[in-house]
């Protein structure tokens, strides 16, 4: 009897350690369903998924970069710049595909610059991407002279359309979540990324090409951010050069809430997805309940800290135990 109890207890501890953040998410869903009768309605749930899709896609890129021991503060500005160039391309050519390709390429180009500055010039990622944060924003504002671009026509289908009743951004979200999961868990690149973030010296000693992996991480993240820019602009039906201000902090928060270690070496696509939905559900339920703006900020900050504290506590107990 005692042995069975110990086994059950050990299994429960393992579950809590590995799945703490998902338990928080499930707990929030259960609580929200009691607090609002419309929370579990299909329309509300698709609203949440649609609202978090852009920031989650950006957060996947941020997660990848953080796991490899770096950071990207430029995601908000690059998203805006990529989105602006995408919209401009569509307005000029009438081709949605061209717009999407240009958006992704701009994201990749900015990220490549970040990666080269970090790997070749040995500038700390914080500084390199801080520079890009300012430069990309300036580029977006300069190109548009600070004005919004309107009359997007069919371009809005990407962000506002639906297929079989499911909003289009959700297909992008799910697809990119799968891509991210596969990259991290089933490719050499993913394994090297974890190794570099966990212990860069050991990774170097074992023959991993650090700079190439880091550059690749930035480039992939840039592609995610570029696509996020396309979806964002099509969702709001305008090219907004001042979009995404502060999104870098949101993406870092989502990654960390999802279990990504800010020092590198730990993180997952599913964790980031859970982190994004924790924030999305929090915002949604507070809006459904009519919670006042200032109070929302206090509650949001408190719950974010509590969610991460629970996750950290569960992992710490496991290590000590």
């Amino acid at each position: 009897m005692k042995i069975n109890r110990d086994v059950v207890s050990a299994r429960w501890d393992m579950i809590k350690t590995r799945f703490a953040i998902y338990m928080v998410l499930v707990g929030m869903i259960i609580l929200a369903s009691f607090l609002s009768p419309v929370f579990l309605s299909p329309r509300n749930l698709t609203n949440i998924a649609r609202q978090v899709s852009v920031i989650t896609i950006m957060s996947f890129g941020q997660t990848l970069v953080i796991i490899s021991g770096m950071i990207d503060l430029s995601v908000g500005s690059v998203m805006a710049f990529a989105g602006i160039m995408s919209v401009s391309t569509y307005v000029a050519t009438g081709s949605i595909l061209s717009g999407v390709v240009v958006g992704i390429l701009v994201g990749v180009a900015c990220a490549t610059i970040n990666g080269l500055i970090v790997t070749k010039l040995k500038v700390p990622p914080f500084i390199a991407t801080l520079g890009m944060l300012t430069a990309a924003r300036g580029a977006a504002l300069l190109y548009t002279e600070g004005q919004n671009i309107y009359q997007l026509g069919d371009y809005v289908m990407l962000g506002q359309g639906s297929i079989f009743g499911i909003p289009t951004p959700i297909y992008f979200l799910v697809g990119l979540a799968i891509v991210m999961w596969y990259l991290l868990n089933h490719t050499k690149f993913g394994r090297y990324t974890y190794a570099i973030g966990g212990n860069e010296d050991a990774a170097r000693a074992s023959g991993i090409r650090i700079n190439r992996n880091k550059l690749t991480a930035y480039i992939i993240a840039g592609a995610f951010v570029g696509l996020a820019g396309v979806l964002f602009m099509s969702r709001v039906n305008a090219g907004l050069p001042n979009a995404g201000i502060g999104y870098e902090l949101d993406t870092i928060s989502i990654a960390v809430i999802g279990g990504t270690s800010i020092t590198g070496g730990t993180g997952s696509a599913t964790g980031t997805l859970a982190g994004a939905f924790i924030i999305g559900i929090l915002n949604n339920i507070m809006n459904l309940l009519g919670v006042q703006s200032y109070l929302q900020q206090i509650i949001r900050g408190t719950i974010i800290v509590m969610a991460v504290a629970y996750d950290s506590f569960a992992k710490t107990r496991r290590k000590v135990g």
């Binding site: 600070g146 309107y150 809006n287």
Partner: protein, 319 residues
């Protein structure tokens, strides 16, 4: 590699000297500093662009635009730098009236003429002001709404940033001119969307879920009104939705033409720019002997007269 970086750094640091117009300054030209609140803000950018275009009509005036980046410390630093650089006149678009007040007083003490625009800062002797009345901007829409909004209506409200004078005054107008006049109307949702379209969209998406009926959206600017409209565009359940905004942006003109936006009030950056530069010119030429305080009109724009808005934006190349 190190030498290359040093050379690049020198070039980049020297670039502003070559790119600026200060090097080619003529003695008879008056230098005006225009300190914009934040060029990332589309209205502030519109005003800054309009100031530059209007300045071209005055061959004896050059305007240097400075971006305050919506940061009080940055705006205040620009004010101080403009004093040190001995500009002939400063036009300031304050980010926060009280935060800029002591620095504006420094400008007055330094004997440099200063025009406060969009917004004005009340109670500082020695300043000129050119502004629109934010209360009236809200009020013209509110008075229309008194007759248009159905009985026992449910309304939602989208506000600008907390403490922003224009948002606060417009909201006050809606309270006095509409909500106090129509006690049957219920405010079923009110949030701060920071002038942003995407924030307004998120709030509207959630309100549509949790509120059984929304008859009107009251927005303190056109951007947020447009965000709310994106959510319900094409939804027959919201065919009769009334939506009110402020600013008279190019997008507002399109939305009014489509029959989606009910009304807005035109805060013409073109007119603000015209009055600012005209006043600056008269001050610098000595024509003005007293302090000038001017408000632009804030005409109500509906489907009947939206052509006024469209023509203004077409002339400026925004449509």
């Amino acid at each position: 590699m190190r030498k290359t970086i040093v050379v690049l750094l020198v070039i980049l640091l020297a670039a502003p000297v070559f790119l600026s117009s200060a090097g080619a300054q003529e003695e008879d030209v008056n230098r005006v500093a225009y300190i914009a609140r934040a060029q990332a803000d589309s209205f502030a950018a519109w005003l800054a662009n309009s100031i530059l275009i209007e300045a071209e009509k005055y061959p004896d005036i050059t305007v240097d635009v400075m971006d305050g980046q919506a940061d009080d410390a940055t705006v205040n630093a620009f004010i101080e730098n403009s004093i040190v650089n001995q500009y002939d006149l400063i036009i300031l678009q304050a980010n926060n009236a009280e935060a800029q007040r002591p620095y504006v007083e420094q400008v007055v003490d330094a004997g440099i003429p200063i025009i406060l625009t969009n917004p004005r800062i009340e109670g500082i002797d020695g300043t000129h002001t050119v502004d629109a009345d934010p209360y009236e901007q809200g009020a013209v829409n509110a008075r229309l709404a008194v007759d248009q909004v159905p009985e026992n209506a449910n309304v939602v409200i989208l506000n600008g940033p907390a403490g922003n004078m224009h948002s606060t005054a417009r909201r006050e107008a809606w309270q006095k001119e509409f909500l106090d006049e129509r006690p049957d109307v219920q405010v079923v949702g009110e949030q701060i969307a920071h002038w942003n379209k995407e924030e307004a969209m998120a709030y509207m998406e959630d309100w549509v879920q949790s509120i059984s009926r929304i008859d009107a959206v009251i927005s303190m600017n056109d951007n947020m009104a447009a965000g709310a409209l994106e959510v319900v565009r094409g939804d027959s359940a919201f065919e009769d939705l009334l939506v009110y905004g402020v600013d008279g942006t190019a997008e507002a003109a399109l939305l009014i033409e489509e029959g989606l936006l009910t009304s807005t009030s035109f805060q013409s950056a073109y007119e603000l720019a015209r009055l600012n530069l005209d006043l600056a010119d008269r001050i610098l030429s000595g024509e003005v002997t007293d302090y000038v305080h001017t408000d632009i009109d804030c005409p109500l724009i509906t489907k009947e007269n939206v052509h006024i808005l469209r023509e203004a934006h077409e002339d400026a190349g925004n449509l």
